[in-house]
Symmetry: C2
Subunit: 428 residues, 2 copies
Amino acid sequence: MQRTLVEDLSAHCGEQVLVKGWLERIRELSTVTFLILRDRTGTVQIAADPKLYAELKLSTESVVEVLGRVHSEPRAKAGFEVAADKITVLSRAENLPIQINGPVLNVPLELALDNRVLSLRHRLINPIFRIQAALVHGFQTFLSREGFVQVFTPKIVASGTEGGTELFPLQYFEEKAFLCQSPQFYKQMMVGAGYERVYEVGHVYRAEKHATSRHLNEYVSLDLEMGFIEDEHEIMALENRLLAFMFSYTAERCAKELHILDVEVPSVPAAIPKIALDDALALLTEKYGKQAAGQDLDPEGERLLSEHIKETTGSEFVFVTDYPWEKRPMYTMPKGTGLTRSFDLLFRGLEITTGGQRIHTHDLLVENIRKKGLDPDAFSSYIENFAWGMPPHGGLAIGLERLTAQLLGLANVREASLFPRDRFRLTP
Amino acid sequence: MQRTLVEDLSAHCGEQVLVKGWLERIRELSTVTFLILRDRTGTVQIAADPKLYAELKLSTESVVEVLGRVHSEPRAKAGFEVAADKITVLSRAENLPIQINGPVLNVPLELALDNRVLSLRHRLINPIFRIQAALVHGFQTFLSREGFVQVFTPKIVASGTEGGTELFPLQYFEEKAFLCQSPQFYKQMMVGAGYERVYEVGHVYRAEKHATSRHLNEYVSLDLEMGFIEDEHEIMALENRLLAFMFSYTAERCAKELHILDVEVPSVPAAIPKIALDDALALLTEKYGKQAAGQDLDPEGERLLSEHIKETTGSEFVFVTDYPWEKRPMYTMPKGTGLTRSFDLLFRGLEITTGGQRIHTHDLLVENIRKKGLDPDAFSSYIENFAWGMPPHGGLAIGLERLTAQLLGLANVREASLFPRDRFRLTP
């Protein structure tokens, strides 16, 4: 007999069905045993004869299939239940290290991550990664429609994009190699290879030693790069439309999950506000008495600036533009005196994107690398491409876990990673 | 002025347009200079006054923008050309190490890979990765519609899936780690985490020392896993529908690219033929006089079997089933005496998929691991999940570069990787 998913049961009232899933709850009364069965689409109440159930001796989270009849039952949450004729055990569960059938998962994050397969079953955790998947598929769908080509570039590299710091070293046969900290060089090269518009969804690696709620050592980067742009504002305009699409795509496909998590998907304004970094720093000093810690926003600065923009424009997003030359990598296009054609995007007080226009001419690139105190020879297999015809171009990267965490109001970015890799965590 | 893409020019006859791209060819006659300009959508002939062109002193592959007027010109390939009013240089090219404007790219593969950004511009190479992107997007689209959740699982792991062989070692802060050779464990865990159906598109790493035309040390694996299956035939049925979708999706979106490469997308039969491995080996001996080299198909065996199936059924695909227990990893579901519920899929003479049903009960898994001579303790963070309720499940993995190479008739799988990592190649 064909399986019926829980979400389809209401169309089968009065019929015999086969349902399959995990036993989320077991309540034994004298005349009936109630089982709550959970599958990937929801939960349903099963009413079983105590004798039918007793001989099975099941624990919660065991996997079963139940042959039974759907009948209306006003006291059940859904208005119907399944009266069991036969229960077959597919896989027994026992000695669960954490209980996951409460209204909230009441265990420390480390324990939840240690027992990830269990904690992911919890009703408030499972939806996180369905929503994350929708965000990614929205990213891929929008960009494919806009003529972008999805690429897969290597994660084992001979050198870093920013000069060898914060890299995980790796033995590649006889050679020393590193894990890629960004597909930056490769996506630029793909623009130059004639694709003009490319995107990549892939892991990147940062060997940063600090353990914060905002950092992961392995994370998913949503990268894009496009050629023949006028300036960095074209990249921001694209991101504006991209985010609007991703959020409406997710709202449409994950209505149930967003409802369970009580999350409102933000409306993306037609033109996300922009503010130059210098103006932002001056504003923070003036309005909040905050002294700038160097020429950059610290986490508190990001929060306050977002607060100010929300108050004054209603937008939960803000582009911070015109970062100083000192703060940006060597491939960033300079602008005027001491600035660059680069930007960050803050969403609800956290930076989720870095982007900008890149240098596209060979001599300027070499000069900029030297000014940064780096050796052009160390980047020769990147630089040489700029002597072979490279269009003006730019792009951006969105940190997937950060985007997810901010959207869902998660306190720690590791909650938005299935199996986070951080300073002290390498398993499961 | 807004840029017009080459593919849209025919709708602008008689109008002024701005086109942007690379100079693929330059032909200087006494009264006119012809330039072939290439953008991501195609090529167009530009007719320029020799004086306008001469002062620019351009080499092929320089990036320019041309302001001009579209007018009909029967002698041009497209039936029209652009008469240039103004040519602006965006980025000069010089000293190209390889010439890429010939009808075929007449350089050895190593040289093409050394100069990848250039070789990718070639008319017969550029389409490969547009087609590959369509295959991937087809994979993602089909599975999302079928209720699969896209997941991202770690590539830095504490141990291998098959017992520690062929792994790239890595220093992860104080700990020794490895690059993941397959998302196998994680995708199974995601089924058990309640998602039931998951897929992943990501890199996997094999530290195999042999350099062949069929192997890469870093490649893209299209992985899926699904729960609540009856047996391995359900996985094969899904792959059958999946491939049909991926190929028709690609044929529709890449008609131009497939035409350029003169490739016919195969029709996927409603039911791809199946043959048990033992029967396949017997058939090869009987029909081709081929002696089996152990209980497996070697490359020649794969070719001959595909040839036989094509002759007798017309199918370019064949599932080889019932692999012996010795040949399959410890997580494979046993079947009868000495066999397993596993399969390979051959496409045009090459294995592009391995799949099967997995063990889903704790005790059988532990027993099987022991029988393989492995230590269950080495896999504890995997095995423990099987005591917490795991549905019957199975899945498969498709090697993206192999699939692409077989579809397009490429002789070497490295031609289907943007930046291959192989025994001796770590750059670009």
